[in-house]
């Protein structure tokens, strides 16, 4: 992107990059057919009987459709299947049927009108309930209602005809919609609503379809047939791009695809430099499914298991049992490979519905990460107990986020001791040797890394926060985000100091920020003495490719050279020229 000169006036819509990759195609607006009540009345009892039969038939077809999707599509992940399974129960719900039938019989309404009315009332009732969870279920009711209606209406003709090479644009896409869509012709998704964790995002990723979600109202101004580029990595949709931009993206897309094929074949090779230094490449994951995917890319384990997903989209903190099941699943699927579990890392910028954090002027400098855990001991102990109990199923390490100094590290460690002694008393099994380590992401922790190292079993350098705190740059801030650069000498000095402190104390040190996934910085980091990199799994092959083709001696030389450079831009230029 950097070598690209944008002409002003090019329509560029920003959203959330929910599924990586580049898609180029024509806009195809997905309009939901809105069926409205006709208000007509049935004239006699034979019509009543016929309408009830029609409703039952539509229900049966709907059930068949959903079952087919579940059975035929093995690429759907667990979450999507669970949703569809519950939809089967919604569709065949006896209360729904009796409400519909009574409208047909008592009010002489057509089946279509009855369903419209019943779904409307039910949705309103769900929306009125005092819970985000139930309001989200209103969307499910709406979804199954539309499905039944499609099968009730004469106009409905099976799958929606989509043109070849389409970029599907919609307000939102529900699990059911995907059944009505021929995804083989869909190159990409762009939606007004949705986030990285919405149904559409999960589906897009499991199908490898690039997607940008949460584009907002502006997406509605896109016309059918407009040429679109969906950049799922950077979360950008380009509308009717100029030729040079299109050419740039076409080249990138092709290069990307060629490279992806070639690189994936690297997964069976160990990451070893040409002169024999083995480097551990690990994946950042949020679930057991992620972990399984990561092995496809050749991950040697998980260097960062973010547990936040467990705490999101809920109405209360997850119970110990619930967490245990989740960690256990990760352990079971880990193939004996090391998994580093980071304890809850939430804060004011990503609040939980059920856990009110008072509004803060500076959430990034506020109540977050281990600061919450040490304050809400009950929540922390529950999580630690669950991790410890599950530790017998895998090769786990526990990592604390946002540690800023020795006191917090010691306090967190004593909580682990507390959890362990509870489990001993209850005669529950756990891994007694489980390593305890910390994220180094607060500058104060990096500066006293030599003080922290004797008390930690390992360090993991979180470059995203370390960089933003060190440089005082919020990279979400458009005006200054160009100042955010981990290759800044100040950040590099901190990183190097942390690595040295770890090595002098004989503890492991890794890196789990986005910096670890940047191929132009791989050798520099190896030269500093870093031998463990954790990143999103799809980045592993690219980094591995760099490692296989260079020597550790060369890496050391690179760091020696960079150390003498005083300007960020010269460092970047120097590293770019090397690759």
């Amino acid at each position: 992107m950097d070598n690209l000169n944008y002409k002003s006036g090019v329509a560029e819509i920003k959203g959330v990059g929910a599924s990586p990759g580049i898609a180029i195609g024509n806009a195809f607006r997905f309009r939901k057919e809105v069926v409205r009540a006709t208000e007509l009345k049935l004239s006699d009892d034979s019509e009543v009987k016929r309408e009830i039969e029609k409703f039952d038939a539509a229900v049966n077809i709907s059930v068949r459709d959903v079952k087919q999707v579940i059975e035929r599509d093995s690429s759907l992940n667990r979450e999507v299947v669970d949703v569809l399974e519950s939809h089967l129960e919604f569709i065949t719900d006896p209360q729904l049927r009796s409400d519909v039938v009574s409208r047909i019989t008592d009010h002489k309404m057509f089946a279509i009108d009855s369903v419209v009315k019943v779904i409307e009332l039910t949705t309103v009732a769900f929306n009125d309930l005092d819970s985000d969870y139930m309001r989200a279920r209103a969307a499910d009711v709406q979804d199954i209602g539309e499905r039944i209606l499609r099968n009730l209406s004469y106009s409905y003709s099976g799958k929606l005809e989509i043109n070849e090479n389409s970029i599907l644009i919609a307000e939102d896409i529900s699990p059911s919609d995907t059944i009505a869509l021929d995804l083989s012709k869909v190159m990409g998704f762009a939606t007004q609503l949705g986030s990285r964790t919405s149904h559409t995002a999960i589906l897009a990723r499991s199908k490898n379809i690039p997607a940008v979600l949460g584009c907002g109202e502006i997406l509605a101004s896109v016309n059918d047939g407009d040429l679109l580029i969906v950049d799922g990595l950077n979360g950008i949709v380009h509308v009717n791009p100029p030729a040079h931009l299109l050419r740039y993206y076409r080249e990138r897309k092709e290069a990307h695809e060629r490279q992806a094929d070639a690189l994936k074949s690297l997964r069976h090779h160990l990451a070893v430099t040409a002169d024999g230094r083995q480097i551990k490449l690990l994946a950042n994951i949020s679930s057991a499914d992620d972990l399984e995917d990561s092995f496809e890319y050749g991950a040697m384990g998980a260097g960062l298991f973010r547990t936040e997903m467990l705490f999101m989209n809920r109405t209360s903190f997850p119970s110990e049992q619930r967490q245990f099941e989740c960690y256990k699943q990760v352990g079971v699927k880990s193939r004996g490979k090391e998994v580093t579990i980071r304890t809850m890392d939430i804060g004011g910028d990503k609040p939980l519905d059920y856990f009110e954090i008072p509004r803060e002027d500076n959430p990034f400098l506020g109540y977050r990460g281990v600061r919450i855990s040490l304050d809400r001991r009950d929540v922390f102990i529950t999580q630690l107990r669950a991790i410890l109990r599950a530790s017998i199923f895998g090769n786990f390490r526990i990592m604390f986020p946002m540690i800023s100094g020795l006191e917090e590290l010691l306090a967190a460690k004593s909580m682990v001791e507390e959890a362990k002694s509870q489990l001993k008393t209850e005669q529950l099994e756990f891994d007694r040797q489980i390593p305890l380590g910390i994220m180094i992401e607060v500058p104060s922790a990096a500066i006293v890394a030599d003080i922290l190292a004797p008390e930690a079993d390992f360090f993991s350098i979180g470059t995203n926060d370390l960089c933003q705190y060190t440089l005082a740059v919020d990279r979400g801030n458009e005006k200054i985000k160009s100042l955010y650069e981990p290759l800044n000498p100040a950040v590099l000095r901190l990183i190097s100091f942390v690595i040295d402190a770890a090595r002098q104390n004989n503890i492991d040190v890794g890196m789990c920020g986005e910096f670890a996934a940047d191929p132009k910085s791989t050798l520099l980091l190896i030269g500093m003495g870093l031998h463990e990199f954790s990143m999103s799994a799809s980045s592993i092959p690219r980094v591995k490719n760099v490692i296989l083709n260079h020597t550790e001696a060369k890496a050391r030389e690179i760091w020696r050279n960079v150390k003498t450079m005083r300007r960020t831009d010269s460092i970047i230029k120097y590293l770019e020229a090397l690759i």
Partner: protein, 88 residues
Amino acid sequence: MISKDYLITAAEGIHARPATTLIRLVKHFKSAVILRKGDKSIRLNSILNILTFGAKGGDTVTVIVEGEDEVAAAASIDKFFKEELKQL
């Protein structure tokens, strides 16, 4: 008729996923199963009714089973509330 009280220990109550499991379990039996909390009661065959019933973690609910296979049905439901609900 068999009637038994259960304390809902799953913090999030009976949500869509466990409700789906529970309904499918009850379908295996001929007995009628009623869920009661306070003065509200519903047939345990409708996901819509279960969700709007609003049993939360910490609530006590009464399950009433009546029919020819009520013993087996009650045992199966018992297992659901005691073991499975918290894992779903």
